[in-house]
Amino acid sequence: MNEHLLSMHDLTAEDVVRILDTAESFREVGSRVIKKVPALRGRTVVNFFMENSTRTRISFELAAKRLSADVINFSAGGSSVSKGESLKDTALTLQAMGADAIVIRHSSSGSPLQLTRWVDGHVLNAGDGTHEHPTQALLDLYTMREKLGRLEGLRAAIVGDVMHSRVARSLTFGLVKMGAEVTLVGPPTLIPPDAPAWGAQVSYDIDGLLPKLDVCYVLRVQKERQRLEFFPSVREYARLFGLTSARAATLPEQALIMHPGPMNRGVEIDSDVADKPESVIEEQVTNGIAIRMALLYLLVGGSGDGESA
């Protein structure tokens, strides 16, 4: 595996399988009374969150703690960043503190890559701008493989604001890498023009697609974008692309309904759809901890210069 995890493009299909298999073992650890193993004892993991995020930060924090690593949380508010410190100076401070891994969430695409030029530790991208969010994609792949038994040949649709979604990008790259068929669905203004280059199909008709799907992945409507007039109104969006109860009823019986959270109930997904048994939104959260444990273990646990295992 690569030294860092910045993008799904850093991983081969074999790497993805290894990460998912390792996460399987960590799921078992999560079911024990003592949910903690000493694998990364004495290592330091820094959660460097320059953009608001609760679930991803908590998930990484719990993952690192369950591996017995020491965790430092560093976020924008109340830190030297709010006093105007540059990313580089912050990075050099983290470097001087001897961080073995730095988990970064930042509103600027590419900042995790920039960080790798200044620090020696392993950098894990926890979401950068509109670029990528690979750990979310991996936990989604894990959930699909667990529920449906395979990834190859799966038919998945990713519905919504694909343009601004780092989740959609990482997940599409991951699914295509694993041999699944991906269709991106949404208003034309929110489908990026280069989507065909990702290896995905594009459709503007959600109703024609639903009966043929194994996975319906609903993206959050970023209401703040509505002001920017990418679509006329939230209500119109909900009517044309929202996963309503009537639409969800046209999905095949075994199909999964997924959402990366946080949800706008009643906009991109109806409240009772989110609570259906086919919806695996809570499992996605549990699996996220196991995936992040696997990534920290594989990256930090393999950083020696000794013989390979």
Binding site: D21, V37, L67, Y297, G301, G302, S308
Partner: protein
Amino acid sequence: MTATVMTADDVRRALTRIAHEILERDKGAADVVLVGIADRGDDLARRLAIEIARIEGVEIPVGVLDITFYRDDIGLRAEAPEVHETRIGFDVSGKVVVLVDDVLYTGRTIRSAMDALMDLGRPRKIQLAVLVDRGHRELPIRADFVGKNVPTGRADDVRVQIEELDGVDAVTVTAGVAA
């Protein structure tokens, strides 16, 4: 040069003897559970359970333990060690846990296994059964039940083959060139 130090028959006889020794030492099979260390240790543990069932007429629980997360060399290797599955479907607290492994060498695996077991509960006793003891301990650990003591050099390669994984039961030693 490769020498066979145990044939399939030797392995079978050794496991039968160890099964008897466990029953003798622990005065029957009550509260005894077997925990094999992945991989190969778990297959040996299942076979010991079959032997004990044959001798004593008692089914004893068998679990699989992966010790990867408890290793003392994580981060020293270029690749993170491969992770196997842990599946222990019973509570180890208050039990006599017989750890089962194929080869006892430095003792570091057993140290890790004991730490891992302690996180799962509080066994009344932990004992160790191995098919081969090849010497060269780096920790103060010894086995309670040994299939065969095989004197080796550090550079030698001791290979245990198990029918379930390798299609044949055998223990071989390939002489290594001392570094």
